[in-house]
Each structure stands twice: as structure tokens, then as C-alpha cells.
């Protein structure tokens, strides 16, 4: 199977382990030591921390209720533009809702959906990967078939069709994005499981009378944690972008939820005249995703191998 071959493949005996052996440190200590020297990771982590704080503390930080409309104050420009008001720093939208507050609350939605969808994807992908890799045979074939079905239809189209017929809600969006983003977890888990299955300690566990399932869960999964974590981080970013795209196309989270993608879609009709409606949420989205990607790349660098790629 080409997909497996082209995506998987990753050295278990990495330079990290060598370094660890040389210095007599635990893997965790090595990772932290290297993380301190990794600018991308630090910057990404920093930005993310700030945005996460905004998301968590939104009710205290947002100057207004993001849902509160004031029809007589529609489409105010940001405060520094002619006609703006300092009480609405980033202006208001087409229902007179405070744009800054909506952007702050938007961070919540994005993060919730990103983490939720990536978790569901991880659960599906890892489960299927362990099953396919460990048991092989027709189960492997069946999983392979699922993967092909999944990859053969453009995932965005599939997500759109599903959300369209199931109905729009945050939960649906989380589940549907999660349910269509598990292939990477699967590929990595499956190939790693295949390799680990042959190793001694699994055979030993098997000899000690552990059931196959116990082996799979207790012995195989912990070995995969690093890789899954890296994929997870990157999938959070992918899910956030997916949600934004879906919402932009009108099939994501329902209005009036303050989703950045939705805000861009709503601003699009007035894009030439009130461009801030489109520009501001886009910047928020960009910063969040780049922070997550930097963090993900960084985590991969410090945990897996010395090589930046």
C-alpha cells in the first residue's frame, strides 16, 4: 500500500535516544533541554499560551457580549478610522456586535473545535491502526478499504456533504472533521504496530498470558505517544483551518456563534467597503495556526530526530 509507505517510516532509534544515552538523562529531560534551544517552538508556544489565555478568560477580557446586537451601531469601522468609536476598538459587524469581543470569543471556538476534532481523529486512527497492524489479515484489508474510500473523495466535499445533511452545530462539525482526519494516525500507528509486534517484549507479554488486546493497548500505545502527539498538534491546526473553511462556505458552525471563518464569510459581501470585517478574523486565524504549527514542528524536532524538516 503506497500510502503507508510514503507517509510512515520513522526511526525508532533516533539521535534523541543516543543523546539520552550519552548524557544519562530521561527522554523527558532531553526534550525539555532541547526545547529551550528551539526558537520556533518557543515562539509558537508563547503565542499559543497568550491565545489560550484569551480563549479561557474571554468572559473577563472581552469588552462586550459577543452576541449583543445594537442595530443602530451597525458596521462601525475600527476606532482609529474616521467614524470609529473607542468603545468598539475593532468596530462592529452588520448587526452592531462588537468585533473585538467576537474575535476573542472566536479563539474559544477555534481551539475547541481544533482540539476536539483532532482528539476524535486520534481515537479513530489509533484504534484502527492498532487493529490493522496487530491483527492483520482481513481486518487490515477492511481498514485499507476504509482509507481508500476516505481518500478517494475530496475530504472537504465529504465534510460539506455530511454537515449539510446532518445539520450544522459545533458538535457535528467537531465529529465530522474528526471522522475525516484519521489517516495519518492510522498510517503511523499501523506501521509502528507492525514493527513493535515483532519485538521481544511483546512476545514476552504474550507468553505471560496477556490477551492480544491488553498487549496492543498496554505495550504498543505508550511507544507511539511521541509520534501521535506530533500528529495531534498538526491535526489541530488542520482542523482549525477546516472549520474556518467550512464556516466560510456556510456549512460550519451555525450563526450567531463567533467563528472566525463565519465572520469572514459574513464580511465578504461588504469586502470592498468594510475590509476590516474580512482582514481582522483572518489575521487571528493565521496567527493561531502558525503558532500551533511552530509548536508541532518544534515538538517533532525535539522528540524524534535532530533533523529539521
Amino acid at each position: 500500500m503506497t500510502i503507508t509507505e510514503s507517509v510512515g517510516g520513522n526511526e525508532l532509534t533516533s539521535e534523541a535516544e543516543r543523546e539520552q544515552a550519552q548524557l544519562g538523562l530521561t527522554p523527558g529531560q532531553v526534550a525539555i533541554k532541547r526545547a529551550r534551544r528551539h526558537p520556533g517552538l518557543l515562539v509558537g508556544f508563547g503565542i499559543l499560551l497568550v491565545m489560550a489565555l484569551f480563549a479561557v478568560l474571554a468572559p473577563w477580557l472581552a469588552p462586550h457580549d459577543p452576541y449583543l446586537q445594537n442595530l443602530s451601531l451597525r458596521l462601525l469601522p475600527p476606532a482609529w478610522v474616521e467614524g470609529g468609536q473607542w468603545s468598539h476598538l475593532l468596530g462592529t459587524d452588520h448587526l452592531g456586535r462588537d468585533y473585538l469581543s467576537r474575535i476573542i470569543y472566536g479563539a474559544r471556538i477555534s481551539m475547541m473545535i481544533g482540539i476536539g476534532a483532532a482528539t476524535i481523529g486520534a481515537i479513530i486512527g489509533v484504534t484502527l491502526g492498532v487493529i490493522a497492524g496487530y491483527f492483520g489479515g482481513w481486518l487490515d484489508q477492511a481498514v485499507n478499504f476504509l482509507v481508500t474510500c476516505q481518500l478517494a473523495v475530496p475530504s472537504l466535499l465529504l465534510i460539506m456533504a455530511l454537515v449539510f445533511v446532518i445539520g450544522q452545530s459545533i458538535t457535528v462539525v467537531i465529529f465530522v472533521i474528526g471522522a475525516t482526519h484519521w489517516v495519518f494516525y492510522l498510517v503511523v500507528t499501523r506501521s509502528a504496530t507492525l514493527r513493535i509486534r515483532e519485538l521481544d517484549f511483546v512476545a514476552a507479554a504474550s507468553a505471560m498470558g496477556c490477551s492480544r488486546l491488553q498487549i496492543a493497548v498496554k505495550e504498543i500505545l505508550p511507544n507511539l505517544l511521541n509520534q501521535i502527539l506530533v500528529i495531534f498538534t498538526l491535526e489541530v491546526a488542520v482542523a482549525i483551518l477546516n472549520e474556518a473553511t467550512l464556516s466560510f462556505l456556510g456549512l460550519g458552525v451555525p450563526s450567531p456563534t463567533p467563528s472566525w471563518g463565519l465572520m469572514i464569510a459574513e464580511g465578504k459581501t461588504a469586502m470592498f467597503f468594510q475590509p476590516w470585517l474580512v482582514i481582522l478574523p483572518g489575521i487571528a486565524l493565521f496567527v493561531l495556526v502558525i503558532a500551533i504549527n511552530l509548536l508541532g514542528d518544534g515538538v517533532r524536532d525535539v522528540t524524534v530526530t535532530n533533523r529539521r524538516s
Binding site: 442595530l71 451555525p254 459574513e266 470592498f272
Partner: protein, 510 residues
Amino acid sequence: MTIRYPVRVRAFLVGMMVSLLPLSASAGPSDDTLVVAFSKALTTVDRLYSIQREGLILSRLTDDGLFFVDPDTLEFEPLAAASYTWVSDTRLDITLRDNVRFHDGGRLSADDVVYTFRWVLNKDSDTSRGAVIRGWLDSVEKLGPLKVRFNLKMPYPMALRDMAISIPLRKSGTYDDPRGGDQPLNGIGPYRVKQFDVGRRIVLERFEDYYPDSPKAGARIRNMVFRVIPDEGTQQAELLSGGIDLMMDVPPDVADNVSALPGVERLEGNDIRIGYLTLDAAGYADPDSPMTHLKVRQAINHAINREAISRYLVRGSARAIPYACHPRQFGCQADGPRYPYDPEKARQLLAEAGYPEGFSLKLWAYREKIIAEAIVSDLKAVGLDVDLRYVKLNVFSKMRNDHRMGAFFASYGSGGTADASASTGVHFTANSNRNYSGDEALSKTVLAAERTIDRDERRRLYREALNRIAEQAYWVPLFSYSQNYLLTPALSLPVSEDGVPRLWQAAWRQ
């Protein structure tokens, strides 16, 4: 509200839009060609087979029916018919004008009228309005070369409306050849179809042999081109660069923005369309639904600030409406309870109904998301936990037709008909999927009104029905719509009362 732009921005916008597109179609007075943008493509220019709004607009140019809607009074007046008499409640005799010609030169005769209506009555012809016409029309017979008799199945006051809006006259034998002739359409209207590129453009030319005593006679502009431009931004750019002369159905915000630029004029007119909420009073979706309580429905009526919504969001000539009909419609005179905006009262009514903490509700909608959001916000303000389900029409109608909605925001255009029957019949008769009232008596009243010719009696019946709807708060009547047009300043276009542009009266300003 007006939006001001810094001068710099304006200069940018004009510059960009004008330099933007190659002038693919020359428009304007210089070559006497009016270019109009259509957002959606028409699949056919034959009104008998299309119910799109674009088809209606086009058909008013290319086709005449026996009657037409007077754009000022919205009454149904004879058009190809010279005169008509109701012989009885179910028998209508029509005399045709003797000087009406088809675009191919042939004269209109009684045979053509009989052919057209028999074609529509024929089930196999699959015309789009066939089912509706078959509901009331029994048969058509020729009484003389210019005289036709219509036999109705029952007294049906809207017969003239259906003839005016839905049935353009066709020459006898038009549909014999399944592939159609060389001519895309052989009508009797003031313009003839010169060219029809499916999905791209429709070219019309003034029909010089049009009967001069027609109320629609005297067309000023020689050529009209309808270009299909689905994207609104592109339409705006084309308008500013002179590629098109007229944009219709412009959302108010866009109209505000674009008309602030030089070189564009904005026209505003009425529209017979009204917006409303339907509440599941019958408890179809959920027998225990809070909507089954009168006080809850009244509370929702009090909770929504229709004045603010129509003033700030619908704008123009839009007005809040107190009853379930458009004020321009015949029969829309009621004196039942009105529900002014009063969130306090709403809360109190909710408490009295046993929901002091509110309840959760799914509100369904498929158009004007901004307005739907504003409604949600008003309902949240009185303590309801509202989940907006904004979906596409195909999902919406499935849910609505299966009676699975607790409340929905929708609108109805009444086919441009200024008569209360056009909307009450669709929404409150017992066999209608749109009816969520479950009120048998109301259904009877509405049906009775639909089968009554006497105008005073019809007025009385509609008053009774509309009062009942208001008392029971089956609906939240919201607002009437307005129509926004953007056009080049060189064009003069009288706006019509029903929101369908009367392009045959368009002219160039001198």
C-alpha cells in the same frame, strides 16, 4: 443609515472597478441597448415551463396573457383580452382584441387561446403551473373567432390572477414539434426573443408590430440584453464600468455602499413579499412543545423588535406588519390584537405559561441570515435558549413539509399578487405543508374566501381569518420587503408596486 467613505477609498474603488473588465457588452443609450444582470440562469425562456423570478421578469416583456397586473394599482386588467364577462360564478366569457400579432406575424385568435389552455390542462404537458390551473379550470371552448368561454370547477376569484401571471398565450400547435422551431419563443409581448444562449445571455428586440392599444404599448428602448452574472461583486464591477445598466434584488447594505459611488443611481420600490415566523401551534414536531401554549406564542410576538429590524436591516420602504398579509393586498384589513415590541411583557407571558426560565428552541431559516440572527438575538433577550438552524432551501423544505420544525423564519412573495388569498391559502389551509396551526375552522374560512366572488364577502372572510391568526398568534408577522435597484444614471425606470420591474417602460434620460 449612511456610510461615509474617505475620498481616497472612493477614488480607488471607482478606479479599480472601471478599469477592471473589458467592455464585453456595450450598454447604454449610444446603441439603444439596455443590459440587465440576471443572478441566475434561465433554463428556458418559456414561462409555461419556468417559475423562476427571472422568468417572470422576462415573460412580462416577451409574453402577454389575457390579463395583466397593472403595475400601479396591482389590479388585474384585460391585456390580450378586449373585454370579459362573468356569465355566472363559474363561467367566464372573454372577447379578444382583433389586432394582436404573434412575433412570427400570425394573428391571435380564439383557437390559440383554446390551444394554450388545453395544453396547460393536459396532464402530460408537464407545464409548471398545470397542477394549479387544473385545480379550478374545467374546460375551455371557442365561441367565435375572437370569443372564448372558460368553465370553472368552482367559483374562483383568482382566475384572472392565474391567467395574468401564469399563462402566456401560445400559438396553436406550438408544442407539436418537440424540438421547437428556429424561434426560441413565439409570444405576443412587446419584445421578441432574438437570441437565447442558455446560461449566458438572452437578447430581446422591440416587437414593432405590437398592438398599439395595449396598456403595455409604447416601449422606448429598442434592444435589451439579459446577462447571467451569478456573482454580486462582478455585477457591481460591471455596473460601474458600464458593462450593465441595471442590477435587481440588491441587498440593502450593498445598495448603500455602491450607490455612494459616483456613476450609480439607486432606486427603491415596494415588494409584495412579507417575512414571518411560523410557530408550531399544533405541536406537530413535538406535542409537548411550548409553542402549543398561546401565551408562549404571544410572548414571542412581543419579543421581536420588528420596527428595528425593518428600519435597520430590511430598510427602504419596508415596514413592520401587524397581520399575516401584505398591506397592499386585497383583504388585508384586520382589527385583531397587535403585539407591540415589549420584552418585559414577553417575559411575563412566558412566566405565566409556566416557563419563567425560558426554554430551548430551534429556529429554522433559509434566507436573510442577518435578519434570522437578529430575531435569535431578540428571543435570547427574553430568556429563550435559541439555536439557529440556517440551512439551504432543500433541507428547509424537507423539514417544513415533514412538519418537523418548532419555529421557522420564512418569507412569501405571493407571486406578486395583491390579494390576501395568495398567501393565506398557501399557509393556512388544512392540506398545506406550510400550515402549522392545525386550525380546522380557520382553514374553512380561508377556503371559503378563495371560492367567493363577492368582494365584500371576501373582505369579511379574510378579516375573520386574519383576526383569528392574530388572536391565536400562529405567526409572528414581521415586515414587508423592499426592492433595491442599482442603475446607471442614464436610465429611467418607473418602479412597480409588486417588486417586479416593468422594463417595457424603461427609457433613456435625455
